[in-house]
């Protein structure tokens, strides 16, 4: 009730920003069904033929398979490394702690082109051959911080007293971790993994520097939209990618909400 006038203005602005976020997506949605190859506004007639065309394209299927493999492997590595780092940084105060947190943020804080160029220079200097694994290494490197951020944020919000209570009641370090710490951070782990997968699945800036002939879904789309006659198919593929992402994000949100409800009210 404090800012009634302000609240209305903020509400309006929020609506405007949400519209800004969704209009381009709606445009993609619309053009995926566009009957003509020319993309004028508004689209005149509608068709679903681009979807069957996309699915029957073997290069698209190969790109999709590669992207899924890379995304799964990269988010697995990121979950392991990111949560280990989060535990260490949350529990310990040590010399160089600030530097470590700085180093973890660096791969995502530095512009993508720098990360891509750095890894490319390293691979060219050491003579590594490109494969989907070189792409995976690159993706995992910048995904670590995403998991790290999620886990450490949750650890900070989780009350330290439940860990102390567990130890006081005779649980050892492993039991405390397994039955107290892990359940309280599990949703943060899942959310971090989902974000890491999303980041990898969509990545092209670093990928271009770390791949030879291997395609990923973004690389496939990138090539397709530069050839005007392939654009409708690219729109169709994009629409499927967008739709497929609704389910995991919805699940992640529900998981995170459960965590919120269970949270002890005494957290800082």
């Amino acid at each position: 009730m404090r800012y009634r006038g302000g609240a209305i203005a903020i509400r309006l602005a929020s609506g405007f920003v949400l519209a800004f976020l969704y209009i381009p997506l709606a445009v993609v949605f619309l053009y995926a069904f566009n009957g003509s190859v020319a993309q004028g506004w508004p689209p005149k007639d509608f068709t679903t033929k681009w979807f069957s065309l996309a699915w029957s394209d073997p290069t698209m299927r190969e790109a999709l398979a590669n992207s899924v493999k890379i995304g799964l492997a990269a988010s697995f590595v990121a979950v392991v490394l990111g949560s280990l780092a989060a535990f260490a940084m949350h529990r310990f105060r040590f010399f160089g702690r600030e530097t470590v947190s700085f180093a973890l943020v660096l791969p995502i804080a530095l512009p993508g082109i720098v990360t891509g160029m750095a890894l490319r220079s390293a691979m060219s200097t050491t003579g590594v051959t490109f494969s989907i694994w070189t792409i995976m290494i690159g993706h995992a490197t910048f995904c670590v911080v995403v998991v790290f951020n999620n886990v450490i944020a949750r650890l900070r919000r989780t009350s330290g007293s439940i860990v102390e209570a567990s130890m006081d009641l005779g649980a050892d370090g492993w039991q405390t971790f397994r039955f107290v710490t892990l359940p309280s951070i599990s949703t943060a782990l899942v959310a971090g993994a989902l974000l890491a997968f999303a980041l990898s699945f969509d990545e092209i800036i670093v990928t271009n520097f770390l791949s030879g002939a291997e395609t990923t879904l973004p690389k496939w789309i990138f090539n397709a939209i530069r050839l005007p006659h392939n654009r409708p198919v690219a729109n169709a593929v994009a629409l499927i990618v967008i739709l497929l992402s609704v389910i995991p994000v919805y699940l992640a949100q529900r998981l995170a909400n459960q965590g919120e409800v269970d949270r002890t009210p005494t957290v800082r």
């Binding site: 903020i10 800004f20 976020l21 381009p24 445009v27 180093a103 512009p111 160029m117 939209i225």
Partner: protein
């Protein structure tokens, strides 16, 4: 400062129990075990690569064999410094990145504030999903949506004509790139700003209004100072993502950014050392930005 109590002294044995006990009294071993692996990955693969990038910037490509020769020298930096083209590209890129970061903070703040402080829990959850969802949809296609929207007969021109304005013709200009970048990175800015605003205790706002602070005063003295870490963190994302992109200029617009020059030198021009040297320019730019951000305490909110 480990928070747990000293080992419970129980007589139960077993490997995990003994290991736990050992780790409990040897926190340094535990620190090494938990931090060692991630540090090794980031340290060797990432920082090592950055080191090699730096070194590559001092090498050059042999004109005859077009292979990299390890002759150390400043020739790449000399080229970048003296050539007017490279300087123009650098200034253009940094300017665009700054404009995008400011635009995104202005757009993100009201939405984040609404979600964090005004909306009911269900609406808040819905807004967060709505913000996160575009992150999941292909960045390329979102960029491409702006090609269609800004093209001569596209949505923006139609809208502006319908409102009685002339056609804007912003397709392939830097205005289109500015809009598209602001759009692309907006969720990355909303989330940290939201996180910072959510953390402000309600009692602070009550205290401020009890002490006679009007809305604007409360905002300026309480909300904004506490939101700064989130704002800075978000602006780092927007700034850095723009600085490191070369995809959008290829699909939308025909202006080259730093990224395009680097990418062309890796691919078409096959001059990895010059590309490496130019890649150090955004490192320097973002380094200054990060240094300032760290002094403002932004990393706690990332």
């Amino acid at each position: 400062m480990s928070q747990e109590t000293i080992g419970s002294g129980s007589s139960r044995t077993g490997l995990t129990r003994r290991a736990s006990g050992y780790l409990n009294v040897h926190p340094k071993v535990r620190l090494a075990l938990t931090l060692g692996i991630p540090l090794l990955w980031i340290g060797v693969i990432y920082l090592g690569s950055l080191g090699l990038l730096f070194v590559n910037g001092f090498w050059r490509v042999d004109v005859l064999t077009s292979r990299i020769t390890h002759d150390w020298g400043l020739q790449n930096f000399h080229t970048l410094w003296t050539s007017k083209v490279y300087r123009t590209v650098t200034i253009r890129t940094a300017g665009l990145a700054t404009a995008v970061a400011i635009t995104d903070v202005l757009l993100a703040f009201p939405l984040a504030y609404y979600a964090a402080r005004i909306a009911r829990p269900k609406v808040r959850a819905a807004i967060l999903v709505a913000v996160v969802l575009p992150l999941w949809s292909s960045y390329l296609v979102k960029s491409y949506a702006w090609v269609t929207m800004t093209s001569p007969n596209g949505l923006i021109d139609s809208l502006s004509r319908a409102l009685g304005f002339p056609s804007l013709h912003i397709g392939t200009t830097q205005w289109a790139m500015w809009l598209a970048y602001a759009y692309l990175w907006l969720p990355f800015v909303v989330l940290p700003v939201y996180a910072a605003l959510e953390r402000i205790p309600e009692s602070y706002l009550e205290a401020s209004s009890d002490l006679g602070g009007r809305s604007w005063m409360t905002f300026r003295r309480v909300v904004w100072p506490m939101a700064i870490p989130g704002v800075v963190a978000g602006s780092i994302f927007a700034f850095s993502l723009t600085l490191g992109d070369y995809i959008l200029p290829i699909i939308l617009g025909n202006t080259k950014l730093i990224g395009n020059v680097i990418y062309d030198n890796v691919g078409v021009a096959n001059n990895l050392p010059l590309a490496a040297a130019f890649a150090l320019v955004p490192v320097a730019v973002i380094g200054v930005y990060l240094f300032l951000a760290r002094r403002l305490g932004a990393f706690e909110a990332l």
